[in-house]
């Protein structure tokens, strides 16, 4: 595998430099695809994505859903600061991610701190793959994605097609009917539904894949979904989508209890108004805040989520409730439901919300509450199929 930044599977390979993909920075990563129809498809979708300006550091190419949030004009000072930050990140990652693991081992606390401040947008796709373990999966499984997309058929194909245009319908990348965005989203979801037939396709997975595809190729996005659902680094997420949605139920139980411990007054009010967490929290967990939260916030949550795991979803949920606490405790049922699904604009500022989220310490309680839940409901099932064990080194 050489220096770890190339993947050679066939002598007749065609190299694509990262700068072509991102339309921005130097050739830090060389991605090489096998010469095949899928290779061609992937390239086309990459070109299309670079043409639509999906990745741009500090630039203003993305008019809508900007990763920086509502139209921000940057001052020269801010620009300089950003360049400095970028330099630090580049050093930390090394060429094509070659220094990453070393750096994480040596200075894990620095990495954590920097990630919590937000991964620079032009490095996000690469860093997400590094921290999720998906890059290792990709390198260990050459040709697998192609096989799944081209040769296999899935029982969920029609379900997936029906949801494609209903996933991020207002994002420019997914708006064109049968356009590159919709096609790659379909391919990733179909491939996953074949790869893991027990989970198959479940509504909500499209938001995961859809968010990832804004930052990486189909194949990369596919392996990141695999890494998440099968648990390459953190606890597997597949229970969110398995029959009975067992992990959704467990997470909602844990969230409800945590909320009541941290905000007893609000908890009491929820009891009086008969609000239960499935009325507002299911989509937080099922789509990791990508369903109805603005992109600039969702991306920042995902940065932390991929590095630290699902506990950030609990923390952000608690922060949202805390931020609106004094309003929420006064609202009657219907207004309460509305408020819990439409948080105010100022709560959507990641630099306000995330520090608040980090202030909640939940790890220990989450583990205890999990055990409590298992005592009542039994252990949350994981996928029965053993053949899909991750082959992580």
């Amino acid at each position: 595998m050489g220096d770890g930044n190339t993947m050679k599977t066939n002598p007749t390979t065609i190299g694509y430099h990262w700068n072509e993909v991102s339309g921005y920075h130097s050739s830090e990563v060389t991605l090489i695809f096998i010469e095949s129809s899928i290779g061609e498809q992937l390239r086309r979708s990459r070109r299309a994505s670079s043409a639509s300006g999906k990745c741009c550091c500090g630039g203003g190419l993305r008019e809508h859903n900007s990763p920086d949030g509502p139209s921000r004009n940057k001052s020269a000072l801010e620009y300089q600061r950003e360049q400095k930050r970028l330099k630090k990140w580049r050093k930390m990652i090394g060429v094509g991610g070659s220094d990453w693991k070393h750096y994480v081992r040596r200075k894990g606390h620095v990495v954590k701190r920097r990630i919590r401040k937000g991964i620079p947008d032009c490095l996000r796709g690469l860093v997400w793959q590094l921290i999720s373990g998906s890059r290792d999966l990709l390198l260990m499984n050459p040709g697998v994605y192609e096989q799944l997309v081209i040769y296999e058929t899935s029982a969920s194909e029609l379900d997936i097609i029906r949801d494609i245009s209903r996933t991020f319908p207002s994002h420019v990348f997914y708006q064109q009917r049968h356009g590159p965005g919709q096609r790659s989203l379909y391919n990733v979801l179909k491939a996953y539904s074949v790869y893991d037939r027990e989970v198959g396709y479940v509504q909500g997975m499209g938001y995961l894949a859809g968010l990832l595809l804004l930052y990486m190729s189909e194949e990369d996005a596919f392996w990141l979904v695999v890494a998440l659902l099968k648990g390459a680094v953190h606890a597997p997420m597949e229970g969110l989508y398995l029959e009975g949605l067992p992990l959704v139920q467990q997470y909602l139980f844990q969230f409800d209890r945590l909320m009541r411990e941290y905000m007893p007054k609000l908890g009491e009010h929820f009891t009086e108004e008969m609000i239960n967490p499935s009325m507002y929290g299911s989509q937080w967990f099922i789509t990791v805040f990508s369903y109805s939260f603005p992109f600039h916030l969702a991306l920042r949550i995902w940065d932390v989520f991929l590095y630290e795991g699902v506990k950030i979803v609990f923390k952000v949920g608690l922060a949202l409730l805390k931020y609106c606490h004094d309003d929420l405790v006064k609202l009657p049922f219907e207004k309460l439901i509305h408020a819990l699904r439409n948080f105010p604009e100022d709560a959507m500022n990641p630099d306000t919300l995330l520090p608040m989220a980090y202030s909640f310490k939940v790890s220990k309680r989450l583990e205890e509450l999990k055990q409590e839940y298992e005592k009542i409901h039994g252990k949350v099932a994981e996928s029965k199929s053993k053949q899909k064990q991750l082959q992580l080194a």
């Binding site: 379900d159 949801d163 209903r166 996933t167 029959e243 949605l245 499935s278 009325m279 369903y291 219907e334």
Partner: protein, 217 residues
């Protein structure tokens, strides 16, 4: 409290659920009825959504609390909890996709397993504006509805056809059952602040309202 508070001013509060296969148009039926909006770019529903609207029946104000549910089978683990306490249900299928009509039987069973046996049910064939793509005949659906003792209507959320009528019919029928029962709670809306169960009465009562409602197109 001199101010007129339209929101809280109601005589009856009924909880209604919208169920049916994924992609049949449940969310757009709801937005058409509650906000007179339709979106061609709507997202698939994850979990449940919620909206309300009040209508007037016999000089009474009836407030509907409508729960819109995700249609995919896997989601029933979450959504079926919302059947509890519902006094009305619209089971929606897509007139252009026969399979969604075939699945109505399962939705009915699911509903009857989880809800009060006296629930008022309407079968709704949505997307009736797509006449050239029709895959379920009005006759077939009507026959099925008669057999199952549910009301029936064809709608188009896009063209706002029969949407108002279908919801109104369900709410009116619930009201008839309730008022015929002359439950005490009828005069005391304060007793029903938030979507709790209203007893629609005994089995015998509902058989009296079993008839196929009007249909169109």
């Amino acid at each position: 409290m001199a101010a007129y508070r339209a929101d809280d001013d109601y005589d009856y509060l009924f909880k209604v659920v919208l169920i049916g296969d994924s992609g049949v148009g449940k969310s757009n039926l709801l937005s058409r009825f509650t906000r007179n909006e339709f979106s061609l770019e709507s997202k698939s529903t994850i979990g449940v959504e919620f909206a309300t609207r009040s209508i007037r029946v016999d000089e009474k104000i009836i407030k509907a609390q409508i729960w819109d549910t995700a249609g995919q089978e896997r989601y029933r683990a979450i959504t079926s909890a919302y059947y509890r306490g519902a006094v009305g249900a619209l089971i929606v299928y897509d007139t252009t996709r026969h399979v969604t009509f075939e699945n109505v039987e399962r939705w009915l069973k699911e509903l009857r397993d989880h809800s009060d046996s006296n629930i008022v049910i309407m079968l709704v064939g949505n997307k009736a504006d797509l006449r050239h793509l029709r895959a379920v005949s009005t006759e077939d659906a009507k026959t099925f509805a008669e057999k199952e003792n549910t009301y029936f209507m064809e709608t188009s959320a896009l063209e706002a056809m029969n949407v108002e009528d279908s919801f109104t019919e369900v709410l009116t029928q619930i009201y008839h059952v309730v008022s015929r029962k002359a439950l005490d709670i009828g005069n005391d809306p304060g007793a029903l602040p938030k979507g709790q169960t209203i007893n629609v009465g005994s089995k015998d009562d509902v058989s009296a309202v079993k008839k196929v409602g009007c249909c169109s197109s």
